[in-house]
Symmetry: C2
Subunit: 220 residues, 2 copies
């Protein structure tokens, strides 16, 4: 059976782990949500912790398969690749078509790491970081200093992650309606334009010229 109880356990566990954290999630709750017996988790995974890492690995393997390698058309300009990259990151996090726990459990792992964090970094974060670095190298020149490039990458990713990690704070801070008005497309355009302007590849924000979405070709 594809719909094994083992898979049902991983799905239920991921959802509950992502929502309540590792310690607060009980195997009884997980088994009940998975319509499985209490002993099932120990039969299939041996112990609770193994079920947790199985859920994390499943989440990142799904994230891998759901996102088609981020391979952009070769004739796409670096600027447009950056724009598409930022939009995709935001969509992946805020437009939850897939089960929301896939990224929730990984963000929890990245903020308060357990032993599964290293695997997440290697299998999920590093490929994404390499993709970002490739774009930045095309944008800034391949002899750009590595440390500066790292910081620029962190500046971009930090902007994106902020809207996900601290979403509840933003809601409380600016109100529900103002938060709902921040659509993914609007956020992606802002972050892209903000970052491009910081790198000198687009007109700066700040002066209220109704800036149309920048679609300039990259300067090589």
């Amino acid at each position: 059976m594809i719909d094994d109880t083992r898979q049902r356990l991983i799905d239920a566990a991921g959802a509950i782990f992502a929502e309540k954290g590792y310690e607060a999630a009980s195997v009884r709750d997980i088994c009940q949500q998975a319509s499985a017996n209490i002993a099932a988790v120990n039969y299939h995974f041996g112990e609770k912790k193994s079920l947790y890492v199985a859920a994390v690995r499943h989440a990142q393997s799904c994230a891998d398969s759901e996102n088609p390698e981020m391979t952009w058309p070769a004739d796409m300009s670096p600027v447009e690749r950056l724009r598409a990259h930022i939009l995709q990151m935001l969509q992946r996090k805020l437009e939850g078509d897939k089960p929301a726990w896939h990224l929730g459990i990984m963000l929890r792992e990245m903020a308060f790491p357990t032993e599964a964090c290293a695997a997440v970094v290697e299998d999920y974060v590093r490929p994404m970081a390499n993709g970002m670095r490739a774009i930045l190298l095309d944008l800034l020149g391949h002899d750009f200093p590595e440390e500066k490039g790292n910081m620029i990458g962190f500046s971009i990713v930090g902007q994106v992650l902020f809207y996900y990690v601290h979403q509840p704070v933003i809601r409380l801070l600016i109100g529900e309606s103002a938060h709902d008005a921040l659509t993914v497309q609007k956020l992606a355009d802002h972050i892209t334009n903000f970052s491009l302007a910081a790198m000198g590849l687009a007109p700066s924000l700040g002066h209220s010229t109704p800036t149309p979405p920048i679609t300039t070709k990259a300067m090589t």
Copy 2:
């Protein structure tokens, strides 16, 4: 000292809550670290949850008193106020002279909120957000659209928080030595220059085109 064990309990609780999270922290561990009896927490606070919110409130009251209201000299240019503000945020988080759990427990609360989150936002986040908004209004003009201003503020704060929230990921990603090379001063300069350039108030990163630093007053 009037409330001896009560304060010891709050200190021990804050440290353990920040490190292990609410559920994983046991009152027995807390009482042992505080050299108090197991019944002390229930005698002084009634229940575990009240001790937690007491620790959170203590952390934010300390954060308030430790940071002298962020009142800059009146003749300081908005650009320099922004630079000082960013540096101060980073110092507060990464240069731990004070007990590290003061901000650790609040970041945990902001990322995965409990019922204490609203209080943290109102008493700690909102004043800081107002300070940031005041600087941005001086920088961009007091008739700047609110939503755009919010997003710019989030872009700046997101860059800062990234280095704290995802510090373990950064360590794994670029290595210990490269991470240690990212001093607070270096990060503050980068984030400030990056953000100023994005707003068109400083030369852009990316190319060494020495555009003279713009330190003009806000255009109204």
